[in-house]
Amino acid sequence: MTFFFQNLINALQWGSFYALIALGYSMVYGVLMLFNFAHGDIFMVGAYIGFGVATGLVALSSMGALALPHWLILVLTILISMFLTSFVGMIVERVGYRPLRDAPRASAAITGLMIGIILETGNLALLGAQRISFPALVQSTTYNLGGVFVTNKKIMIVLVSIALMYALHLFVRKTRWGMAMRAMAFDYVVVPLLGVPINNIARMTFAIGSALAAVAGIFFGVAYPVLDPYMGIIFGWKAFVAAILGGRGSILGACLAGFLLGFIEIFVAMIFPSTLRDFIAYSIILLILTFRPHGFFGEPYSARLRL
């Protein structure tokens, strides 16, 4: 039983990464009806920006320029990286997707792939191929809860992730921008006719998704302190799976599917040899999708209303 709970904790952390990244996919897919295949790489860029910000702050702090406690460095790293990474998302939207909004969907899809490759290789050119390690901002403390070992990092990662998901849920439900996003998801054409500049909403969608991906990147760096330029690819694919499994544009769906992916992967690895992990895990998901082709919370919808 403790073994089960131990894995449950691990699965929650692993699922947090997927869920945070999946939200970005799901929002863009929901609002703009496109797959932003560069999103996994935005996660990678977010992790690197986090690395840069954290390293800078640690250096400043050790030089005595400003003496910051480590927890504050982490909070600042998260906030500054969210801010900076949101610009990466906005640039991707402006340069890559806006000119192609009325182009065939396939063109927009390859745009994402190309931007992804540009981000990976750009990073490679800039920082070289060696892996870099994320500065240890959190002094790891392990708590023993009746045989289940929980680190303070894991607790933080899971709780902050869930808090962010809830904040996003409130944003989409309660604010006018969120309302505009939901409206755009159903009918694109009439939204501007009500005086809503849809380009701003599109930009905001990308910004929020990218900021969340940055948080996922930093948390990944905190949990597994090694970054490399291609870390976003597999993560991006899997989070994309979670986004689709959750249902188009559904925040709750993307979160649940993200966690579900984490659970399935961890528990498959618990029973089977870990080399078979993804083979079995994604066969299960394929099976789920066969029975729920619209995902958990996706609505079966007919052809989208467009002019």
Binding site: F171, T175, M179, D187
Partner: protein
């Protein structure tokens, strides 16, 4: 009252279109179209299927940009402006095939239309500042009064999906009105309605016209509706206006009878 005062002296037309043409590829969809609507006027546009009526609406509301010609809204040229800018300048519209957000509530539809009138910022949204609360309360009050006007206030919390067709039309009307338009475009507001619903819809149109004193530009397929509501009617055939005048003039115009009534007796 508002209309009376405007009738005195020179009135600038709220909408003026000069020599507007539009091509789809090589096909001329609208040819040399002219229009002048004054504040508080109800104008009608009739014509057989495919005549280009909805295209004209789309051109004016900025979804398409005309190949030639000028469009003045309140004296300002709006050619090339984005739909959201034109909407913010006072043009509201409904659609022939309802464009509602199926999974959003009736109240949300009307609130959404107030988007450009809301001022609270991101922080206000998250922390519930007094300004936000005041604005939200204000929006809700306005939304309810509009829903009451079109007779769907009791359905405010229902999701569109669960509403009968006639009610959906009314929601669309309320949504368009919530943008506080000075001129309202209605694209076949009675399409698919039974005689009872039709009568109610015509009452609603009359009511909003007298309540807000706004100009209305109406596309209709059913002549009965246009004839009863509109002061001046244009007949469009193959993208060209073949007749313009009062309902009587239109009804007796041989060209209209030939092009429109002669083929399809909808009267």
């Amino acid at each position: 009252m508002r209309r009376l005062s405007l009738k005195v002296g020179y009135t600038m037309p709220i909408l003026q279109i000069n020599k507007m043409s539009h091509d789809f590829g090589g096909l001329r969809a609208v040819n040399n179209y002219n229009l002048e609507i004054e504040s508080g006027q109800i104008r009608g546009l009739i014509g057989p299927n495919g005549a280009g009526k909805t295209t004209i609406f789309n051109l004016i509301s900025g979804i398409y940009s005309p190949t030639e010609g000028e469009i003045l809204l309140n004296g300002k040229s709006i050619v090339g402006l984005k739909p959201y800018q034109i909407a913010a300048m006072g043009l509201g519209r409904t659609f022939q095939n309802l464009r509602l957000w199926r999974h959003m509530t009736v109240l949300e539809h009307v609130k959404m239309a107030r988007y450009s009138k809301i001022n609270y910022g991101l922080l206000g949204a998250f922390f519930g500042t007094p300004k936000r609360r005041r604005e939200e309360a204000d929006i809700e009050e306005k939304a309810y009064s509009l829903l009451k006007l079109v007779g769907v206030a009791d359905l405010a919390d229902q999701v569109i999906l669960n509403l009968p067709y006639g009610a959906q039309r009314r929601v669309e009307m309320a949504r368009a009105l919530a943008t506080e338009p000075k001129i309202l475009f209605l694209d076949e507001p009675t399409a698919g309605m039974n005689p009872e619903e039709l009568k109610q819809m015509m009452d609603i149109i009359r009511r909003i016209h007298s309540e807000f004193g706004l100009a209305i530009f109406l596309i209709e397929h059913r002549l009965k509706v246009v004839m009863e509501l509109c002061e001046i009617i244009q007949t469009l055939v193959f993208g060209e206006v073949i007749a313009e005048g009062s309902s009587e003039e239109i009804q007796n115009d041989p060209k209209v009878i030939e092009a429109y009534l002669g083929k399809e007796t909808i009267l």
